[in-house]
């Protein structure tokens, strides 16, 4: 019971102090879980992030589930995840309530508009980095451009683009290995 509570509280704390999620959390998790507590090794931590990125869902939540599972089994995975989402639930609910009631105030609207400009500039850089990792040859460029056009001109659910991209990757991979084997 103590171990579960410790897990929950630690991930509550980690979810309260990291901005941006994903890889922004890696240094902090390393300090808290590897150096201070020795619950996981550096290598395990990198594995968790690699798997967290290539499985569905929010990376930080995936990593929390992993660490919790390693420490206390299935219940531990759930405790760590709930800890991770507690702060966002409280903070965002308060802010959302604030915005709902104060959005008409001109100053709040100006601040939000300014914030949107800042976020656009930040996200453009994030997408540029993703683009360099994702579009690496002709087939990936074609997948990228076709998806781009389809999202612009059709109203297909994103689910199908995710599924189609995965299937295309699988088929291309098999085809390329066959070609290399000859």
């Amino acid at each position: 019971m103590n171990r579960l509570l410790e897990l929950y509280l630690l991930f509550w704390k980690l979810g309260s102090v990291t901005f941006g999620g994903g890889y922004a959390m890696l240094p902090l998790l390393q300090r808290e879980l590897v150096e201070k507590r020795g619950w996981v090794t550096d290598e395990e931590m990198l594995d968790y992030f690699a798997i967290g990125q290539s499985t569905p869902g929010v990376i930080a939540v995936n990593v929390a589930t992993f660490v919790g599972y390693k420490r206390c089994g299935v219940i531990g995975g759930i405790a760590a995840t709930l800890g991770m989402v507690t702060s966002p639930l409280i903070i965002i609910t308060i802010i959302a309530a604030f915005i709902r009631n104060f959005a008409e105030i001109e100053l709040v609207q100006h601040a939000l508009n300014g914030l949107t400009v800042g976020v656009s500039a930040l996200i453009i850089q994030a997408v540029y980095k993703m683009l360099r990792g994702a579009v690496i040859d002709l087939p990936t460029l074609i997948v990228y451009l076709v998806t781009l056009a389809m999202v612009f001109f059709t109203a297909v659910s994103p689910v199908y683009f995710v599924l189609a991209g995965g299937v295309i990757g699988l088929v291309l991979g098999m085809y390329q290995k066959k070609g290399a084997g000859k």
Partner: protein, 185 residues
């Protein structure tokens, strides 16, 4: 039953948004089209708030969307819906497949998946930038008269500053909020 619907819809987002927080954005725009729970403009606010508060962006977005749709219980349902697939998938992987990311088929799937996800996020960014520059994200309704010159100037200054100065993104966000108030954007 709005709560169940929120849980189910965000369960789907959690299941199909692969590659981190930004990957949830195309799904949010899809939900805005489908249910009118929130507008594209609200998503702009959600992104701004999520990026400038602690916690994973995907979780922040689910909480914000759930709250604006159905209050505090809505926020809980959406967030739990979002993290449930993660918990299930990761627990299964932790148990059976320790070398998941080294599996050649998994690598192949991601070879095709990554450009598709990046394309969807690119569209989101284009909409966000159009909203910033023209005051509308409808690509067929753009006009030079709608150009938001102060926003464009702020955007250019920020991009240059981010390239030149290595500082935590929060400082840039604080500066952009302050500039928004000063310039009356």
């Amino acid at each position: 039953m709005i709560y169940l619907l929120l849980f189910v819809e965000f369960f789907k987002v959690g299941l199909f948004a692969i590659g981190g927080g930004l990957a949830t954005l195309p799904f949010l725009y899809d939900l805005a089209d489908k249910y009118h729970w929130f507008t594209a403009e609200t998503i702009g606010n959600m992104i701004a708030v999520s990026e400038s508060t602690p916690g994973p962006i995907g979780v922040n977005m689910a909480t914000y969307a759930g709250f604006t749709t159905a209050g505090v219980p809505g926020a809980l349902c959406a967030t739990l819906g979002l993290v449930t697939p993660s918990i299930i998938v990761i627990l299964v992987i932790a148990k059976f497949l320790t070398k998941f990311q080294d599996n050649p088929h998994v690598k192949d799937v991601f070879y095709g998946l990554r450009p598709a996800v990046t394309a969807m996020i690119t569209v989101v960014v284009i909409q966000l930038v159009l909203q910033t520059f023209f005051g509308t994200d409808d690509i067929f309704a753009l006009s030079l008269g709608g150009l938001q010159l102060p926003s464009i100037a702020l955007f250019c200054v920020l991009v240059l500053a981010m390239l030149k100065i290595k500082a935590h993104p929060l400082y840039f966000l604080a500066a952009s909020a302050a500039a928004g108030m000063l310039l009356k954007l």
